[in-house]
């Protein structure tokens, strides 16, 4: 019996009930959410019961306007035997960005979580070596968060509107 998105969803809801929710399948990949306290349980269940034993990717996304759920940690998992991929997310408050580490289960999570910490400040609880990996150790902010725009804030000749995201940086703000 081959594993399909429906079966994975059914097994997860059977086991976790209300703790897994928001099932969607954008572009064919099953995606769901779980509370952040639950991430290791879900990973372990997927690993043991459903054969998702390859951690493809760990990363984070910042949604500054979503109060209380500003940071999303996104896991991509792959079942190499059945050849099916899934994605799940845990959302966390930006003031207490504590999420359990997956390093006990996957060695590959080590650097990926360090990278996520480096750029988004997600504090992976229990990580053996949670230090910055790309940026210098002295850096005191998390550069990929949305409050740090790429363009120089003092430039007046460029309007953010050109790039599709509101015009509130260069023209409306009185910089000089």
């Amino acid at each position: 019996m081959s594993l399909t998105n429906e079966i994975v969803q059914q097994r997860l809801t059977e086991y976790f009930g209300e703790a897994v929710f928001n099932f969607t399948a954008p572009y064919g990949m099953l995606t769901f959410e779980t509370p952040k306290e639950n991430n290791l349980k879900v990973l372990q269940f997927l690993y043991d019961e459903l054969g998702f034993q390859f951690l493809t990717d760990v990363t984070a996304v910042h949604y500054p306007n979503d109060k209380g759920r500003e940071l999303a940690v996104v896991y991509h998992l792959h079942n190499l035997v059945e050849n099916i991929r899934i994605r799940f997310k845990v959302f966390t408050d930006i003031n207490t960005p504590d999420v359990f580490t997956a390093t006990r289960l996957f060695e590959s999570a080590n650097w990926q979580e360090r990278e996520t910490y480096d750029f988004y400040g997600v504090n992976f609880v229990g990580h053996p070596n949670l230090r910055r990996i790309m940026n210098v150790d002295e850096m005191d902010y998390f550069p990929q968060r949305k409050e740090y725009p790429v363009e120089d804030q003092t430039r007046r000749d460029k309007d953010d509107e050109m790039f599709g995201r509101g015009g509130d940086t260069a023209f409306t703000k009185d910089v000089y």
Binding site: T59, W111, R132, Q144, F163, G164
Partner: protein, 412 residues
Amino acid sequence: MQHLEIQPQNIKLPEGSIEKQTTTLNLGPTHPATHGVFQNILEMDGERIVSAEQTVGYIHRAFEKLAERRPLYQITPLTDRLNYCSSPINNMGWHMTCEKLLRIQLPKRVDYMRIIIMELARITDHLICNSVVGVDAGAFTGFLYVMQYRELVYEIYEEICGARLTTNIGRIGGFERNFNNTVWTKLEKFLDEYPKALGELDGLLLRNRIFMERTIGAGPISADRALNYGFTGPNLRAAGVDYDVRVHTPYSSYEDFDFIIPTGKTGDCYDRFLVRDEEMKQSLSIIRQAYQKIQEFKGPEAEVFHADVPEYYLPKKEDVYTKMEALIWHFKIIMGEVEMPKGEVYHCVEGGNGELGFYLISDGGRTPYRLHFRRPCFIYYQAYSEITKGSMLSDAVITMSSLNLIAGEMDA
């Protein structure tokens, strides 16, 4: 004057210090053996490595952050600079991610043209890696000799897109222009001459006593550990797992082609060399098949080189100068004023080093809301300290080159 004999008990160490039994050695950040900018801090007991710690990030260029402010087509040059030994694969992978998000269906001929370019890139990537393993084992000749065959591939790129190393090749929806006759002539020349050179490289290294003794048993990893460490690509296949994105999740019509996934057993340097060697031969066969398939197209189909997506594919230059609509679209695309659909997509291709993934989140704006690159060698470089522990320093050097660590890909 009383002669003071140098005895251990006469050496005065600072209060509370413990006498260190091991030597700390910095291999990198710039070192002939690292072939890139990354550092290994080795704790040595004589010639043996007790522990190793890797530092990366020396050439971090914030590509993911930069991508959040660029329209889709401007992100292609960023992907060039990930694994710069096989930039076309990165470019194509990125185009395919965009096409997946925009739900663009490509004509078969474009798929096959892409496959030719991607497989050429794979050959150059593996060729460099394998010949550099030779260099680290003491055989410099092979490396210099095969460079002229990489040059043949670079001339093909040059004919298609004008660039050689950081190619920015292709567009969303296809290619900027059809392949001209020079491309096909050069491709034929390459297909004709390269197998012989590859045979000579094999003859130089494959059964060479020195090479075998240096590589067999150096830096091995088991299939289980390799999977746990997130290995993909030739390094995972050398450990015995036949996972290849081209077969597992076919993209760009790879399902139309007949090829073998070579696997190794022990995951050591020699197996990695063999896997790459065989993959080059398989790539040659794929290129031949694709070339044949392209020649079979007849009539207007034989001239197709891009999909019909006017919102993302630049109109013809002569139309831009003469027609109003074409000029408007040209301007809109170049200024990045085209909205993309809302969505979340993960697309992966088989890069030179393994699964190269693009995780793209669009909030319906003109630039990605978030773009994350899954860079294979960043993930598998973590295993370096485990697989070199207890080995000799010279084995660690050769392991590093046979893992094909590309600093650009590691640091993004």
